[in-house]
């Protein structure tokens, strides 16, 4: 399979002060046609990675190619291959929604008639026709993001970059945007999506790379990543008081793989759930147990196992 994006040893240092190592050697290969999720907490280096791929950030060292074009050597050519939706509303405030689409097409060298046609087509496709004459300030957050996606693919790029596209959106708009992203697959557009929502990465991505502190920790399909955890069940115990001694007791229960401290209690990973809960509750009885939650491993579990900390700060 051919690669849509290839990152080799990407390093980015900001001179500062303070001097910041945003990326310490990122390697990634995104295949053509896939939806690829870059999952990590804020400050992990997701936006810097996307910034380099989209010609807005210069790497300190390393190489990045999009559709075989070196993004540092030939930014204008690379830009023809990419569409970008950043986490901010970057719609042109002086232009209407239709004009935002129309002039984007003009920037990519389309003629007047072709640009008008493409803008109308996108308005229709993204259900924005009734807002065509509105100014960006008049749109809700969900519609802004929808317009930004429409604009990003207006010049028919091969690769679409979405940087935290649903941050700050209400649940309904979030779902609508997810559907749009899933629709990109049908258009044959490769998508690189950054997010700090593990459910978003899980639901949308063919493959996920987990990134933290400027490096990629793992990269695989969501299912394979969750299998790597080696547990079927995750139990979260919410406790009060001194429960330090409980951890070692829980470890002795059959099927329990690992017990780790989690905020306000303990997290327990087990290979089977048969009879598990009763034994766990029994062991915890002498302590002040406030709540028990059972779940399957998620990408968050994977992240916690890899880094010892939660995704959200």
């Amino acid at each position: 399979m051919t690669e849509a994006i290839r990152l080799e040893g990407l390093v980015k240092e900001y001179a500062g002060p303070p001097r910041v190592q945003a990326l310490v050697g990122v390697n990634l290969a995104v295949r053509e046609g896939e939806v690829f999720g870059l999952l990590g907490p804020n400050g992990a280096g997701k936006t810097t990675t996307v910034g380099i791929c989209t010609t807005r950030v210069l790497p300190t060292s390393g190489r990045a190619t999009v559709k075989g074009v070196d993004v540092v050597a030939d930014p204008p050519r690379a830009r023809r291959a990419i569409g970008v939706v950043s986490q901010y509303n970057t719609l042109d405030r002086s232009c209407t929604i239709r004009e935002n689409l129309y002039y984007h097409c003009r920037y990519f060298g389309m003629g007047g008639a072709e640009s008008r046609h493409r803008a109308d087509e996108l308005l229709e496709q993204f259900r924005l026709s009734d807002r065509a004459a509105a100014m960006p300030e008049q749109l809700s957050g969900g519609l802004v993001q929808r317009t930004q996606v429409a604009r990003a693919i207006a010049h028919r790029p091969a690769v679409l970059f979405l940087d935290e596209p649903t941050a700050g959106l209400d649940p309904q708009s979030r779902l609508a945007l997810w559907e749009l992203i899933e629709g990109m697959r049908a258009l044959g557009i490769t998508v690189l999506l950054t997010t700090h929502y593990m459910d978003e990465a899980d639901r949308l991505s063919d493959r996920v790379a987990i990134i933290d502190a400027g490096r990629v920790l793992v990269c695989d399909t969501p299912a394979a990543l969750k299998r790597q955890v080696g547990a079927e069940t995750v139990v979260h115990l919410q406790l009060e008081g001194d429960f330090a001694a409980l951890a070692s007791q829980l470890c002795m229960i059959q099927g329990v793989r690992e017990v780790t401290p989690a905020d306000g209690g303990l997290r327990l990973m087990a290979s089977s759930r048969d009879g598990l809960l009763a034994r766990v509750v029994e062991a915890a009885a002498p302590y002040t147990l406030r709540d028990v939650a059972i779940s399957e491993p998620t990408l968050e579990t994977v992240f916690i196992q890899l880094t010892g900390k939660a995704l959200r700060d």
Partner: protein, 271 residues
């Protein structure tokens, strides 16, 4: 930069950027004209209409007997052009690069970033020319005293207007990219006001002779060369700076301000 790219590939995008700015200008024509006309209208009204009629103020004693309106006319056109550089380029750019980041879609157009900056200069210049033309009838017809104007050399006038408007656009780019958005208000006090008052707008440069240090000091101000250039081209009867001097100085101003602005633009748009 490769030849094929500038000719074929980049032309369309560059034209697209110009079209976008033209569309925005047409939509905002009323505010554009208001901000362009207000300062020269009131200046010419007070200095060249009210003052002569109430027998007060400047009567151009130092300028060989020419009416103050004649001295003022080229200067006010020059100020109107410089104001456009700031109002049409610096202020919007400061917003677009800062709080709203809306420059992003244009920076992601398939052309080098420096060309996006050049487009800002070019369109700033276009607006400068329009502003100059809009102001011309005001400064010619409102004064109560006769304005002694005739174009001695059309080619000189065209070159002066072209250089002056490009310098205004380049100044706008430089200020819009170098000055932090939170200091953009301060820019008026620190840059715009001194530039106007010390820009040979209200007096010809030659008339500063008695204050030698000032006559030399103002040479750092690009507005001086715009005023003097227009004075030479429109009111040749007044004393003015040598043609070679202001043409050379305006060219240097265009190059230096563009250089500063383009570098700063790249720094602001590429991390």
């Amino acid at each position: 930069m490769t030849d094929h790219a500038v000719g074929g590939g980049y032309g369309g995008a560059f034209a697209g950027l110009l079209r976008r700015d033209a569309r925005v200008l047409v939509r905002n024509l009323a505010p554009f004209l208001t901000r362009t006309i207000m300062n020269p209208l009131l200046s010419v009204f007070v200095f060249a209409y009210v003052f002569p009629r109430i027998g007060q103020g400047m009567r151009g004693a130092g300028a060989g007997g020419a009416s103050f309106a004649t001295i003022l006319m080229p200067g006010l056109i020059a100020v109107a052009m410089v104001f456009q550089g700031i109002a049409a380029v610096a202020l919007p750019l400061s917003m677009e690069l800062g709080a709203t980041r809306e420059i992003e879609d244009r920076v992601l157009a398939p052309i080098p970033n420096w060309l996006v900056a050049v487009e800002k200069i070019v369109f700033g210049a276009v607006q400068g020319v329009i502003a100059g033309l809009a102001v011309f009838p005001l400064v010619y017809f409102i004064p109560a005293t006769p304005v002694d104007m005739h174009v001695a050399s059309w080619p000189l006038l065209v070159v002066v207007i072209a250089l002056a408007s490009l310098a205004s656009g380049a100044l706008g780019l430089a200020l819009g990219t170098v000055v932090r958005p939170q200091h953009i208000g301060l820019m008026f006090a620190v840059v715009v006001v001194p530039m106007t008052f010390l820009g040979c707008v209200y007096y010809p440069w030659a008339a500063l002779h008695p204050i030698r240090w000032l006559q030399v000091g103002v040479l750092i101000n690009p507005l001086v060369y715009m005023s003097e250039g227009l004075r030479t081209a429109l009111t040749p009867g007044l004393p003015h700076m040598p043609v070679g001097l202001f043409l050379a100085a305006l060219s240097v101003a265009v190059l230096v301000l563009s250089g500063i602005g383009i570098r700063a633009f790249r720094r602001r748009t590429i991390d």
